[in-house]
């Protein structure tokens, strides 16, 4: 009976929200799910913060399958939501296809890329390789075996981009370091397979890795867990994951998706569209997580080195090569 009440309540909730005020922003989460403790959760946190600060409301939907992308976009646009914010590279094509039909609605896509950006679409990208470079440096400094690992989620250029920055950072500290890189899979289920994440972690540990960076959404939960069980260090991604295993997670590569979502919602319908926004170290769009959970793991040397490199990258003295530049990585062979 209580379950039934809940279903009815949910239905009523949906019906109510459909009739709510116009022009509230909408947020569409990618397949990893709203609470992946990582990328999508960061987007949700940004939206939450906006809602708390402004008292506004936003609509949201979690996708269950690939086929829902365009449908969700059209439904929000037709219901008058504005702007419609989407997370994940896979939304670029559907947004591109839908945007022309709703010229008055503004669309935002985080992580996507389009050859030509329609006038009512804004793309937000992050310089993940810069943040990954910094955590790569920390990994190399923390490693005793001279081998560090990287576990990606789905094998896509974006994830290689993470791995590439990481390898460059690690090699900058120790040119002889070996970076072991694995991808979880080639389908979206690679974002939600912690069992395989664990198995990859064990495989990398048996090859000698003692610091492992996971850029793998929900799969990363398994990586961090196994790393903690086997008593080696891990590095989280997107959100601050240091608290998941205090004292076992060296740091997290922060990708401030929350800031991007917050800013987009704040700008609302007046947002500038038709181009790219790139958030890097200089804009605090990416960074490394330092808090009480990893304070003991991070030495003063590490802090100083990371700070120096950060400044150099911002000043343009140090260039981290992006994987996208020519679809290959100078420091790592995938």
């Amino acid at each position: 009976m209580t379950l039934m009440t809940k279903f009815l309540g949910a239905v009523a909730g949906v019906a109510l929200s459909a009739g709510a005020a116009l022009a509230e922003p909408a947020l569409i989460f990618d397949l990893g799910g709203k609470f992946d403790k990582s990328f999508n959760e960061a987007a949700f946190n940004g939206a939450q913060r906006w809602a708390e600060e402004t008292g506004g409301t936003f609509r949201e939907i979690e996708l269950q399958s690939e086929a829902q992308r365009e449908q969700a976009l059209r439904r929000f646009a037709e219901a008058g939501a504005n702007p419609v914010i989407t997370t994940g590279f896979a939304f670029a094509d559907p947004v591109n296809a839908v945007a022309g039909d709703y010229p008055d609605t503004k669309f935002v896509n985080i992580d996507g890329w389009m050859p030509e950006v329609p006038a009512n679409v804004q793309l937000i990208g992050f310089q993940e390789h810069q943040g990954s470079y910094l955590v790569g440096m920390m990994a190399a400094m923390a490693s005793k075996s001279g081998k560090v690992g990287f576990i990606g989620g789905m094998d896509i250029p974006l994830i290689r981009h993470f791995g590439c920055g990481y390898a460059q950072g690690a090699k900058a500290v120790n040119p002889d370091i070996e970076v072991i890189a694995n991808m979880t899979g080639t389908t979206p289920s690679a974002w939600n397979d912690p069992v395989k994440g664990s198995e990859l972690t064990k495989a990398q540990i048996s090859q000698g890795a003692d610091v492992i960076y996971a850029a793998a959404g929900g799969t990363g939960v398994g990586v961090l867990q196994t790393a903690a069980d086997e008593n080696i260090l891990s590095i989280g991604v997107d959100s601050n994951q240091n608290h998941l295993h205090p004292g076992k997670v060296l740091t997290s590569m922060l990708k401030r998706v929350d800031v991007a979502v917050y800013d987009s919602m704040k700008a609302g319908v007046d947002m500038e569209t038709g181009g790219f926004t790139t958030l890097g170290l200089a804009e605090d769009g990416v960074g490394v997580a330092m808090d009480e959970n990893n304070a003991e793991l991070v030495s003063a040397d590490m802090k100083a080195a990371v700070e120096e490199a950060r400044q150099k990258i911002i000043d343009g003295e140090l260039e981290v090569v992006a994987y996208y530049a020519n679809d290959s990585c100078p420091a790592l062979d995938f």
Partner: protein, 322 residues
């Protein structure tokens, strides 16, 4: 590739093969009795959630295991009700169970724990630890046999040994007992069983219940032994690979073990591209290994290697003639 790497690879094979094996044997019972079950995935997922959730709440993994088995058996009962009592389409019922489990687990998890569709991390008694077999530490340094025993044979969770024990048990039950003979007969020719005065419905329900039990253990293994908690969709298609293994093994228990170990080995190799490269000097795409179970099943189904003939009455509800 050195000996220790080989042992580690086989160790990983055993871990990855265990959930497949349990789900595969579950499917074997069900399909041998004439009830096709593509809801293995959903049952595993539901069991993974409930075992982790109850283990987290009670702090006792055994209570969690029971809850997982219970959840899986409830779904089995739903499948049985739809396909045995109401004579519905077994495939549709199975698909429905998969969808139900995928949605329900996240919904309940969010309601109970407010952690976004996952359970809290399990620790201590809420998780299955690996058990060290007697003497493993003592002979670990012995060359050759030491690592084999200490690394590969010892040091798994108790559920792994239960899964391995389930293979001879299944064989014995199906091929050496009266119950097994009747169960197999119900999948081949239910009318004959009915003529002999044995209840077709009761036998099929028994088979579906055993299926639920084994799927429950498989799910609990995922979330409380391999992992320390439930994550959305964590079964990640293992129920379907188990079905592929079932076809590959042509519905026979010992062959199911070999098929699952083979598919587990593919999974383990997928995590060690360096080993493949060292042995074959070829750079093999790891995605290819992930697809191999399905490719091999298609080859078997196409009749290239022997012929896979499913139980004759499989998929058809039994209607008593009047």
């Amino acid at each position: 590739m050195d000996y220790l790497t080989l042992i580690q690879l086989l160790d990983s094979t055993v871990r990855l093969a265990t959930p497949l094996l349990l789900a595969c044997l579950a499917g074997l019972f069900s399909e041998r009795a004439g009830i096709f079950d593509i809801g293995l995935e959903g049952k595993m997922l539901a069991a993974a959630f409930f075992s982790a959730a109850v283990a987290a709440l009670s702090g006792n993994v055994w209570v969690g295991l029971l809850a997982g088995i219970g959840a899986s058996m409830v779904l089995s009962a739903v499948h049985g009700l739809a396909s045995i009592t109401f004579r519905g389409n077994q495939l549709i019922s199975g698909v429905a169970i998969n969808f139900l489990a995928a949605g329900m687990t996240v919904l309940i998890a969010q309601d109970w724990f407010r952690q976004g569709g996952r359970t809290p991390s399990l620790s201590g008694g809420a998780r299955f630890d690996s058990i060290t077999l007697p003497g493993a530490d003592a002979i670990a340094d012995t060359p050759f046999i030491g690592p084999l025993y200490a690394e590969l044979i010892s040091g798994h969770s108790i559920l792994v040994y239960m899964a391995l024990a389930a293979v001879p048990l299944t064989w014995w039950l199906l091929f050496r007992t009266r119950f097994g003979l009747r169960l197999r007969a119900v999948g081949e020719n239910p009318a004959a069983v009915d003529t002999a005065g044995v209840s077709v419905v009761a036998l099929r329900y028994a088979a579906v219940a055993i299926c639920g039990l084994l799927c429950g253990i498989a799910g609990a293994y995922l979330s409380t032994a391999l992992q320390a908690g439930f994550v959305k969709d964590m079964s990640a298609g293992r129920g379907f690979i188990a079905l592929a293994a079932l076809i590959f093994s042509k519905w026979r228990p010992w062959h199911a073990l070999y098929a699952c170990l083979l598919f587990g080995l593919f999974g383990a190799l997928e995590t060690r591209p360096d080993v493949i490269e060292a042995v074959t000097t070829l750079k093999v795409n790891s995605a290819l290994l992930g697809a191999l179970p399905y490719v091999m099943t298609v080859i078997i189904l196409a009749g290239f290697i022997g012929k896979a003939i499913p139980p004759r009455a499989g998929g058809e509800p039994y209607v008593k003639e009047r």
